[in-house]
Amino acid sequence: MAIIHDVMPVFELFQPTTVDDTLALLETYKKDAWVLAGGLDTFDWLKDRNKRRKVVVDLSGVQELRGVKTTADGGIEIGAATTLTDVVKHPLVKEKYPILMQAAELVASPQIRNQGTVGGNVSQDTRCWYYRSGWSCYRAGGNICYADTPSAINREHAIFDANRCVAVNPSDTAPALIALDARMVIRSSDGERVVDAETYFIGPSIDITRMTVLRPGELLTAIRVPATWAGAEFYFEKVRERQVWDFPLVNVAAVLKVSNGTIAGSRIVINAVAAHPVRLKAVEDAVAGKRRNEETARMAGELAVQGARPLAHNGYKIPLVRNLVKRAIRGEAQARA
């Protein structure tokens, strides 16, 4: 079959208006159904004709999936289909979780943020260019990782937790949400389950073909951010090559509680270094109770890169992670785009 990467294939389109109808459709079509939120990831796959589905279920009409509201515990719940722009602009997010605002604002481009959803941003597929080229790699059901060969160009790929596949998670909001200890609300026709943001993301060792715990028939409906880290000190930095559109080469999200110059507690997460955002538990433990100073920052940076295994072209991610984590602990305001 000749290859052509243009023109979306034919599909049947459903535009339900309630979550229940959506779930019924997903239950009916199971693996044949593709959930369409903002579509920025979806259209790439479909237009390239690299992935096809018989049925597309468009969430744009499901109002209950949109919006930000306060929860009983003083946190917020963000509907999964809330656009990134709406997240950025929401006063509650700005007031309580500016780290999330910052992360969302650094995603792609204004138009993409106007359409892309927070649920889509955390659930998006990896951008490994071999996989995205439609090559049958491990992630696509094949038996090879084209990104980890002697001649592979793997500058954007993983330094942690690679397992056959060396792709990375490209989300900017994911590390911020994990840092905030968010919960992901997942529904299916069987009911609801709530998972920690940290465990929402999975690596190739658990399932090489998926990035999240979402199974066919399941829908991420909301993200709950608890009050725990509201108003905490935070640090977010995204390193990318172009200041628009680019996915992170590395990003870091950290929330810290500091009292009298001592770090009382923290959650530090980096992304684009593994197939899932990486929470730096060891760093968090090591800095707990330490003075917030250059020495602690340096120690944190060194600790952050332990166990990193660089590929041929991504060794730079090691100093980058080290320095970003260092900065996260220092917490200095950095000039941003």
Binding site: D6, M8, P9, V10, F11, E12, L13, F14, Q15, P16, T17, T18, D21, T22, A24, L25, T28, L36, G39, L40, F43, D44, L46, K47, K54, V55, V56, V57, D58, S60, G61, T85, A108, S109, P110, Q111, I112, N114, Q115, Q243, V244, W245, A337
Partner: protein, 210 residues
Amino acid sequence: MTVQEQTPQEPSHVSRRTFIKVVIASGAAVSASAYLFRGPTLLGQGSLPGAVERLMTLNVNGQMRRVDVMKQETLAMTLRYKLGLTGTKLGCDRSECGACTVLIDDVPHYSCSILTHTVRAKKILTIEGLETANGTLHPVQQAVVDEQGFQCAFCMSGFIMATVGFLKTNPDPTRAELAHGISGNLCRCMDYDKILRSMMRAAQYMQRTT
């Protein structure tokens, strides 16, 4: 082409003419309509909630346009190939150049990356809808003319629409804010300096008119 032909025409005249073109253009499709109507035949789909009808009405530039839209059709394709609104350009078709930017309920979107069926109940504004009926340019258009902004101008419609949308949210931007606000548009002539000059002037013009 002569200069005379560049003078503004009545928008209604334009749309009538483009409408005729549409009929002609879709003439090719009619012969293959049986083929186009194919698709996965899902039994009982009509009874499922949310099943989509192909025939729809679109609100484009203040006009209600009846159009037959395939399920997988993007707004850019509908505008360009069904409604004859070719001012909206396709630069990459992958939401990474901005040439296809249109306003949907006043918000800039990449029309290449949104299904026409998802904007059914919304107001779409394209570059063709900016000029008033009497031929007065929109302040953003006028600012581009006055600054001789852009070179090849293939990105221009997208930039203008992005600016119109951005200025609605921030009518008095700094140059850096403006650049950030219209950063979802790519210019390969790299005429970014003149574009930013034009659009800063546009912000001034907008303030004057309001």
